[in-house]
């Protein structure tokens, strides 16, 4: 079973439909007891970093995420669901993230923002997420991102008037800055790659 964490952020309907294409059971919930049974936990997220952290705290999302990882199970963070895994965010105000991955989420050094549209990913070697879709484009919509690589992970990069980290994979935690649930066939393949790694 795949659980999508419902903390009031993200296009949950699209995410649910996209993960359901893998034929696994998909549940959208904020109930920690249901999350406990999940093989894989998905953290969606759109909007500002601080607002998402507040909404996450309201359902004790940090505990749900940490206990899932402590049980040795995998997690996938999408867009702001990626960003809040890091130590700090600087969107509008400086705010603390979950700190599960080390790094800061900063304003992209580009003239035209937000970065909206389909961009390529220079995938890290032997990536699980991008297997078979190394040359595809994915749909991005964000102004903030991770500018420095995560030392303890496999980093993939995207160029938008300068490089930023568009995906990080560690043993249990995978995060992507783009929206696989909105990235057509390539996005569905990435979701399948993650689900098959569970």
């Amino acid at each position: 079973m795949i659980t999508i964490l419902d903390y009031g952020s993200g296009n949950l309907r699209s995410a649910e439909r996209a993960f359901a294409t893998t034929s696994r059971e998909v549940i959208v919930t904020s109930d920690p007891r249901v999350c406990e049974k999940a093989e894989g936990l998905v953290i969606p997220g759109v909007g500002a970093f601080a607002a998402c952290m507040n909404q996450l705290r309201a359902i004790n999302g940090g505990e749900i995420i940490n206990s899932h990882i402590a049980a040795g199970k995998k997690i996938l963070g999408i867009c702001v669901g990626m960003q809040i895994m890091f130590s700090k965010g600087f969107e509008k105000i400086t705010s603390q993230g979950l700190g599960i991955l080390k790094g800061d989420v900063e304003l992209l050094p580009a003239k035209i923002l937000p970065h909206i549209g389909w961009n390529q990913v220079e995938t890290g070697e032997n990536s699980t997420l991008f297997k078979g879709i190394e040359r595809e484009r994915f749909y991005f919509v964000h102004s903030y991102g991770l500018l420095k690589p995560v030392e303890a992970g496999l980093n993939s990069y995207t160029d938008y008037q300068g490089n930023f980290v568009s995906a990080v994979e560690t043993k249990l935690v995978s995060v992507v800055q783009f929206h696989p649930e909105k990235s057509g066939a390539a996005g569905l393949r990435l979701i399948r790659n993650w689900v098959e790694s569970l």
């Binding site: 296009n11 439909r17 937000p114 909206i116 549209g117 749909y139 919509v141 938008y160």
Partner: protein
């Protein structure tokens, strides 16, 4: 490696059916929105836009059903616009499965709505639709109600204001060119580009593959078109092939 330009078919939806006219009049039936959305996704559309032109509340609830059905099977971003004037309507559409909303008339009569939507849902959900036309002095003026009323606002100062208030993108519609297929208003795109750091989606006037290229050269980041796609005069992959040949980065849909 670089960001691809986006090709966005726009579906004008009236009570659950796609319609298209010239300069917002003489509407003819162009098909079922979900079916057309599916077809455009397969042909390589990078996003889809629904513009709800229903006159009645009943017609608008039909559109919400259409959005729900689309979200079930369309895995590219969907923007919905038309008659949106409150946070509650934005919330309903996002919950139905829209990724973004576009607003126009309501933003002009109540500019704080831009701040409110952006603060609540993030600026990435907000496409500010700017319907502009040349006035008798040759300046670009913002209109409302599908181009029927002048707002008295100058396009340059308005697009600067919406960026500050929290818009995420500009949908720049040339009211003079809507549905006439004589090419995008390149001067309008250039002026808008000089006054904004937001992504610009150019709209109004696409008739041939060359028109798309001209608009990109003028500074557009994305291109929206309706009639030229609906009646099959130009196919999306045809536009993309041509753009790719001329060195513009485009996305090709995966074959499987």
């Amino acid at each position: 490696m670089s960001l691809a330009i986006r090709i966005i078919p726009c579906l004008d939806v009236d009570a659950g059916r796609v319609v298209k006219g010239i300069n917002f009049i003489n509407l003819v039936d162009a098909g079922d929105p979900v079916e057309m959305a599916r077809k455009y996704q397969m042909e390589g559309a990078d996003e889809l836009t629904f513009l709800d032109i229903s006159a009645s509340a009943d017609g608008r609830s039909t559109t919400i059903e259409v959005v729900k059905k689309c979200a079930e099977e369309i895995f590219i971003p969907l923007t919905v616009g038309g008659g949106i004037s409150s946070i509650a309507q934005v919330d309903t559409l996002l919950r139905a499965g829209a990724d973004k909303v576009s607003i126009n008339t309501a933003a002009i009569s109540k500019p704080e709505l831009i701040n409110e939507i952006s603060e609540r849902f993030g600026n990435q959900v907000l496409v500010l639709s700017v319907d502009a036309r040349r006035n008798e002095n040759g300046e670009f003026e913002v209109t409302t109600h599908g181009g029927r009323k002048s707002s008295g606002l100058d396009m340059r100062s308005w697009i600067e204001e919406i960026e500050i208030r929290g818009a995420g993108e500009i949908l720049l519609n040339s009211m003079d060119r809507d549905g006439v297929k004589s090419g995008y208003d390149l001067e309008m795109i250039k002026v808008a580009r000089e006054h904004s750091n937001l992504p610009i989606i150019a709209s109004g006037g696409a008739g041939t593959v060359e028109h798309f290229q001209e608009a990109l050269a003028a500074g557009a980041n994305a291109l929206l078109a309706a009639s030229v796609f609906h009646f099959g005069e130009v196919r999306i992959n045809q536009v993309k092939d041509e753009l790719a040949k001329n060195g513009f980065p485009v996305r090709m849909e995966m074959s499987n």
